[in-house]
Amino acid sequence: MQITVNVNGTEHARVIEPRLLLIHFIRDELGLTGSHWGCDTSNCGACVVWLDETPVKSCTVLAAMADGRNVMTVEGLGSDRGLDVVQQAFARCHGLQCGFCTPGMMLTARWLLDHHPDPSDAEIREALSGQICRCTGYENIVRSVRWAAEQQAVNNHGQQP
């Protein structure tokens, strides 16, 4: 079947088998290897991407289900102006060790901050509870999201007239 998916602002049309999973479409068909293929059982969250307005575990979504929709991967998180504040935060606060879980963590963090600009540590941990860091670097991940929230508040305040 033919599908057309807008990934990070660019339309991609491909002929696929309906059984193709979204994570493999993104990595193997489009060559966007920032999204990681982890547990394959929707437990680890390494494969999280945005499908339209929400994060999803792309190992548990068919590429066919993304037909006509928008996908955002970690490659689309930043912009021409530079890294997203969440990416800056993970770099600054050492929010990664091996980096395998990082793309998914950042995409979920972005979604959290879009909906809760000032989350508590408990809310950050709850939001990330479907994602696993096998380096167990959770303290720094939570610290990164916290820093991103604070930095975002400063940035937004700075834009006020």
């Binding site: 079947m1 088998e17 309906p18 059984r19 193709l20 999973l21 493999h24 394959d40 059982t41 929707s42 437990n43 969250g45 999280v48 499908l51 929400t54 994060p55 999803v56 575990k57 548990t60 979504v61 068919l62 066919a64 289900m65 037909d67 979920t108 709850e126 939001a127 509870s129 479907g130 994602q131």
Partner: protein, 321 residues
């Protein structure tokens, strides 16, 4: 690498279209809602449909509304929708209790209420919650719609009364004023299926009438001084108990419910009801725990759910527990 076996795919654009597709592709076609149960099952070859009929475009099945004295939940409502619905929480706190411990926040954004029910996992949380609420399932086919009680919805593990050619479209719960409800679950870790879980919905005698009730919840009465201060002498007018993962028939505990009707709202009553509920369970030992532990959970979690449901019923719609 886990991938589903070869499958055909169709995208439905309306309920009618989905039903037409089901009729065309026959009994080996399966409805694909959020897919967060079905796709893992397909990876493991535990499900091997010939055709998937994707109903994610049916946004008209994604709603939560109070109408006709009922809370009505569309089958394509995502778990996160139900968890964030003030309307659902105000009438049936059990739904928020349960949703808070279903899977994880990312899975809840995409998994659907109807999909979870139709998957019919014997450990499904919502099956117990809706059994406790004696919900009604609305099932559509090309011939029209029919309704089935939540307690008659499942015919066995991973099997429901939804026939080939039919789709679950809506869940309805009667709004009866003066009640309280709660859900208690023990799991091994965040996002896991329960080792055991129990839900309860209760209505107290002499309590419901004097307090702000169901459909009027949120009115001025919510802050009444009466709310929550007359619990000691209350008796239980009606109690409903849902159980999951412990081999309870129809995801419920009918004998314990019968015992509770007219009983005082007391710790002794909860304890006895918990015992009765556990006696009627048939748990099996597996990787989540031995049968005897699950039976213990059936008892203890029934007690906790009853305790919290009664406290909520006594506190009234404005109460915080």
């Amino acid at each position: 690498m886990q991938v589903p076996a070869y499958v055909e795919y169709e995208k439905a654009t309306s309920v009618q279209h989905a039903l037409t597709l089901l009729a065309r592709f026959g009994p080996e076609a399966r409805i694909l809602a959020g897919g967060h149960s079905l796709i893992p099952m397909m990876k493991l070859r535990l499900a091997q449909p010939e055709t998937l009929i994707d109903i994610n475009a049916l946004t008209d099945l994604r709603y939560i509304k109070a109408t006709g004295g009922e809370l009505r939940i569309g089958a394509m409502t995502r778990h996160a929708d139900l968890l964030s619905s003030a309307l659902a929480g105000q009438h049936f706190a059990i739904l928020h209790d349960a949703e808070r411990v279903i899977a994880d926040p990312i899975v809840r954004l995409w998994g659907t209420v109807g999909g979870s029910l139709c998957q019919a996992d014997p450990s499904e949380d919502l099956s117990a919650a809706f059994a406790a609420l004696k919900a009604t399932m609305v099932i559509a086919s090309l011939d029209g719609t029919r309704t089935v009680s939540a307690r008659q919805f499942h015919v066995g593990p991973f099997e429901t009364v939804v026939e080939p050619g039919e789709i679950l479209t809506e869940i309805r719960i009667a709004i009866e004023p003066g009640g309280g409800s709660a859900y208690e679950k023990v799991g091994r870790r965040v996002g896991d299926w329960p080792v055991g879980a129990a839900g309860a919905a209760v209505w107290l005698d002499g309590a419901g009438d004097s307090r702000a009730g169901g459909s009027k919840a949120g009115d001025s009465k919510a802050g009444d001084s009466k709310a929550g201060d007359s619990k000691a002498g209350d008796s239980i007018r009606e109690a409903r108990i849902g159980l999951t993962a412990v081999g309870a028939e129809h995801f419920s505990a009918a004998a314990a419910e019968e015992f509770l009707r007219g009983a005082p709202a007391s710790e002794e009553s909860y304890a006895r009801a918990g015992q009765i509920a556990a006696e009627h369970c048939n748990p099996v030992s597996d990787q989540r725990g031995p049968a005897e532990y699950k039976r213990h959970l059936a008892c203890e979690l029934t007690v906790r759910a009853l305790r919290r449901a009664v406290a909520r019923a006594a506190a009234g719609p404005g109460g915080v527990t």
